[in-house]
């Protein structure tokens, strides 16, 4: 196995979802050669699954009147529980409206303001006829104005298809079904990546002036996630494995209250927004017991916490896929469900074979988004390694801090793609590629060696799917919605053991060509390291902030913890090393979020 293909380019973008493609388009427009690597055909990326929309303060719709980047900024910072970088947030909210319009120029069929009046929550809304034909917006949680631009039920889909059409138009090279296995670097500078073709199993060397990580989230580290199955945090482990690039705020993990059991497909918030109930195994509506004021419509993290608390108290419905609660929308009536909530009806029918008009929907809080990722500066440059950039969910640009607002993730992909893409272009134009072939071969041989050892089961016979399931369970059980010292310590110990065992993987099948078991075995050790960073970061952070909730430290502690976790994995180490950096506060000093009253703790219900 000494033969390999090699490719040279100006910019190598790993990941062809919205963030990666947007950055690639920016770089290519400025005359650079770009190669996009993607695990799957680009249009299958998880970006396409975002149905809600993207936030941008256009203020065209009646309910968005008076909106501005300032209001968007305030919502975002508050949502992050003051964990975000305020310079980044400011840049983001100012650019978002331009990015939305640019996507419209390229072809996104955004839903537009119409002259028809419509009814929301019993109120009649009259649109300004002056604004008819401009991009409209819908309501999302945690925002002061209706700000989420959308395309019917397929915002992510149309954004991705449009952006990919630009990739076609610019003739950007796309290598799909290719997985990056390691970054080529000398601890100072990044020179590209070693990758594996998932069709043939052959290894390749990509060298580039600039390398960009845009691989999306890591939801699949948790057994139950709303994420696509390709969201395994591979870009995060690429960066971590250099030993010099840190991951930021990995303990900040968002859970969505209503994932459909057992496929964990998202049931949108609209179900509860329109009046749906949550019921326990006795068909008792339990949310009013915990949250008499807001009931099912408390903020996402609060509802998720209450559901899990109720399940822990023994009121969950047992199932082969774990305990869950019921979502009940039957009382809304067939007409309402089959029109306003059609998506939900379709998902229930397709994936559970139930009809929400007559049946209860089994749901459970489900991992949804990772605020953490490859830590970068405001230009998208990764900490610790030159010529490396990261953006999108894979990065910790730090727009989201400890809790992301709905509609800000889709927005981040194209806004960061635009801003950071420009920085990449500027940086690359002045960069040169002078890489030693010995360095490339060294990294390549390391991966070849891994493949051989796995095929021959030289180090052991641990089965990749067994270990993987254990990792998923450790995170789900111990690093979920409720966290506490003992449980997290348990997770760290188990992950340490698991990481050790992951060095002894061996294949059961032959591992030839594009073998899926080999794919998984090559990926797993890196996934466990990322999981380790999540658990260790959560154990160390002795406060509750945003989605990170410690039962033993139920309050936010700005005196000691107004900072960002940086997790490194030094070369040869067997556990991550945590460092901290201060969070930059510019315009908005930490205060009360004004919602999430339950963050005071499950056993301190308000008088």
């Amino acid at each position: 196995m000494s033969r390999y293909d090699s490719f040279v380019t100006d910019v190598l973008v790993i990941g062809a979802g919205l963030a990666g493609e947007r950055a690639a388009v920016e770089a290519a427009t400025q005359g650079l050669n770009v190669i996009l690597l993607s695990l799957v055909p680009p249009r299958r990326s998880h970006s396409s699954a975002a149905q809600g929309g993207m936030q941008a303060a256009l203020g065209n719709s009646a309910m968005g009147k008076g909106d501005s980047p300032d209001v968007h900024f305030a919502d975002t910072v508050k949502g992050s529980d003051w964990g975000c970088d305020q310079d980044v947030a400011r840049l983001f909210v100012e650019t978002a409206p331009i990015a939305v319009r640019e996507m419209a120029h390229w072809g996104v069929p955004w839903t537009r303001v119409t002259k028809d009046e419509h009814v929301y929550d019993g109120k009649v809304i009259h649109e300004d006829p002056e604004n008819a034909g401009l991009i409209t917006a819908r309501n999302f949680g945690g925002t002061a104005k209706w700000r989420t631009c959308y395309t019917s039920d397929g915002a992510g889909h149309t954004l991705l298809y449009t952006l990919d059409s630009m990739v076609l138009r610019l003739g950007i090279t796309v290598h799909d079904r290719v997985e990056a296995l390691s970054l080529i670097h000398d601890s100072e500078r990044c020179y590209g990546a070693v990758a594996r073709c998932l069709r043939t199993g052959e290894l390749r060397a990509y060298t580039a002036k600039t390398t960009v990580i845009a691989t999306g989230g890591y939801g699949r580290l948790y057994g139950a996630s709303t994420n696509a199955i390709i969201n395994e945090g591979s870009g995060l482990s690429l960066a971590l494995d250099t030993g010099v690039v840190p991951l930021g705020n990995m303990e900040a993990v968002q859970f969505h209250p209503t994932g459909l059991v057992p496929s964990w497909i998202l049931i949108t918030e609209g179900a509860r927004g329109d009046g749906g109930y949550l019921l326990d195994k006795n068909l008792h509506r339990f949310m009013p017991d915990y949250e008499p004021a807001k009931k099912e419509l408390a903020s996402r993290d609060v509802v998720s916490r209450r559901i899990m608390q109720h399940i822990r108290a023994g009121y969950g419905v047992e199932s082969p896929y774990g305990d869950h609660v019921w979502l009940d929308i039957r009382h809304l009536g067939a007409e309402h469900i089959n029109t306003n909530l059609r998506e939900i009806a379709t998902i229930c029918k397709n994936f559970r074979g139930i009809d929400p008009v007559k049946d209860l929907i089994p749901v459970r809080p489900t991992q949804h988004y990772g605020m953490g990722g490859v830590r970068t500066n405001i230009d998208g440059q990764a900490y610790g390694l030159k010529n490396l950039f990261a953006l999108g969910e894979a990065a910790c640009w730090d727009l989201h801090g400890f809790n992301r607002l709905g509609g800000n993730s889709l927005a981040e992909t194209v806004v960061a793609g635009k801003i950071i893409g420009e920085q990449i272009a500027k940086f690359t134009a002045e960069a040169s590629l002078d890489v030693k072939s010995s360095l490339v071969e060294e990294h390549l041989h390391r991966q070849m060696d891994r493949v051989t050892r796995l095929r021959e089961s030289r180090d052991g016979t641990e089965y990749v799917y067994d270990l993987r399931r254990e990792m998923e369970q450790i995170l789900s059980h111990h690093v979920g919605i409720f966290r506490s010292e003992d449980s997290l310590q348990d997770a760290v110990n188990q992950l340490s053991d698991l990481h050790e065992r992951a060095q002894r993987l061996g294949l059961r099948g032959g591992g030839h060509g594009g073998d899926p078991e080999l794919d998984a075995a090559l990926r797993l050790p890196g996934m466990i390291r990322v999981a380790y960073c999540i658990a260790k970061g959560a154990l160390a952070r002795k406060e509750s902030r945003g989605s990170h909730f410690r039962e033993d430290f139920p309050h936010r502690d700005d005196a000691n913890w107004l900072n960002r976790t940086l997790a490194y994995w030094p070369e040869g180490a067997d556990e991550p090393e945590l460092r901290y950096e201060p969070v930059k506060i510019t315009e908005s000093p930490p205060g009360d979020r004004g919602y999430g009253e339950a963050t005071r703790g499950p056993d301190s219900a308000k008088p």
Binding site: R44, A104, W106, H157, L168
Partner: protein, 245 residues
């Protein structure tokens, strides 16, 4: 609920071992409530045969990765529930596309080629002005574009099409629908004549012989017959008026 023992006859083929003819391999497993083919195939791979190849990404009928023939019918595996299947189910990869192994086919390459051939992007000379408000568009037009843009490129319409099965250059319903998407878009400045030169032929809309397996099998319900007829009428009128330059 009485537990059923399910049998799956799955096509096995590894391009690295061309000497082994494609064949059906039988697998057995016990049905669970709410089980989909996504769950089934992953279980089979993790518990019975780690070399089994298939593609899933979103597992929520959004990404279009898992098109295959389920008892002969082209559909998405992720939204196929075992409760709707008989005791014995045959799973085959989609025809037309290059076979990568077992149930995995290279739909991505096919669709990329089609997108290039139909020049699937908005053709305009206008440049973007970051300071100007967006151009207005009637919401009805936006919805019309979205109706065609909803295609998830799963390839079920192509795999089920007799013409696509024998004519490798035929762009199929997905290709014609793609053209329709840009035809209704006022931002795209292409003329009817330009579209005609791309799809007004046997590899395009006039290659369709009207069997409508595409329309019958589209897993996301894109109105393919309407789109095919729309483009056919447009192209007929363009063909009628076509003059050599």
């Amino acid at each position: 609920m009485i537990e059923r023992e399910l049998t799956f006859r799955i096509m096995r083929y590894n391009p690295d071992e061309p000497e082994k003819k494609p064949h059906l391999q039988e697998f057995h497993l016990t049905e669970e409530p709410g089980m989909s083919l996504f769950v089934v195939l992953n279980k089979l791979r993790e518990e019975q045969d780690p070399t089994l190849r298939f593609d899933f990404v979103c597992r929520a009928s959004i990404c279009g990765s898992c098109g295959m023939l389920v008892n002969g019918r082209p559909t998405l595996a992720c939204k196929t529930l075992t409760k709707d299947l008989p005791d014995v189910t045959t799973l085959l990869p989609l025809p037309v596309f290059k076979l990568l192994g077992d149930l995995s086919v290279d739909t991505g390459v096919w669709f990329r080629d089609m997108s290039f051939r139909t020049e699937s992007w908005v053709h305009t000379d206008e440049t973007f002005d970051p300071d100007a408000p967006e151009k207005r568009m009637d919401n009805a037009v936006a919805l019309e574009i979205y109706e065609a843009e909803r295609c998830i490129e799963c390839g079920c319409c192509i795999g089920g099409c007799a013409t696509a099965n024998i004519k490798p250059d035929f762009i199929g319903a997905a290709g014609v629908n793609r053209v329709a998407r840009f035809m209704v878009d006022p931002r795209d400045k292409r003329t009817e004549r330009e579209y005609f030169e791309v799809v007004g032929n046997e590899d395009g809309v006039f290659g369709c012989i009207g069997l409508m397996a595409c329309d019958d099998n589209c897993p996301v319900g894109v109105p393919l017959r309407d789109q095919l007829a729309y483009v056919r009428r447009k192209m007929a009128s363009a063909g009628w008026r076509y003059q050599k330059v």
